[in-house]
Symmetry: C2
């Protein structure tokens, strides 16, 4: 999958009523760039990635991010790093949609 | 280097009169997260990374990004991927400062 041009993340957001929506913007063995889209109240449960670092950047909305057992309020433009093995999660505690850019390096192994 | 808390990229921008300013926000073997800060008119010359994918995200300002020989205007919130081996560069063609989040995976080898 390649995007040889400018990507406007909002244009690629996929929201779903039943759970967090996911979109992939770019994927190679080295890097996975995607979007996590949360309706109000939706969550991404606490989890960790062995051997992968993750970057979160809030594109729009606001929410509560979990990192190492702490709750961190984040809003548009804020960035968070979850190094490999560090548990992290997201909850849309706002009244509006929450869109998050999620970057994983390296990318998960393709089955 | 770890940032176990929320990072507000603008707070870490370093601009320099003589050339593009650089800041590192996070670095591991897997991932390098940094900022490129351009005064009006400053450039990051066309270059490529063998074996590394790069993500650019404009934090503030606007500029002309080069990718595969094309010139792409970008503004705050826009994202661009330069896969490994693909030449890319940046020019701040705007009247204001241009701040760009730059993510490389894997990170450059430490000398």
């Amino acid at each position: 999958m390649t995007h040889p041009s400018v990507i406007r993340p909002r244009d690629h957001a996929v929201y779903a009523a039943e759970k967090m929506g996911k979109t992939t913007l770019f994927e190679s063995g080295r890097l996975l760039v995607g979007l996590n889209a949360f309706e109000p109240g939706q969550v991404h449960k606490l989890h960790a990635h062995a051997g992968q670092d993750k970057l979160y950047l809030v594109v729009e909305g606001e929410g509560q991010f979990l990192l190492e057992g702490r709750e961190l309020p984040m809003a548009a433009g804020d960035l968070l790093i979850a190094p490999e093995g560090v548990a992290h999660g997201v909850r849309n505690t706002g009244a509006t949609r929450l869109l998050v850019l999620a970057v994983l390096a390296p990318a998960p192994a393709t089955p």
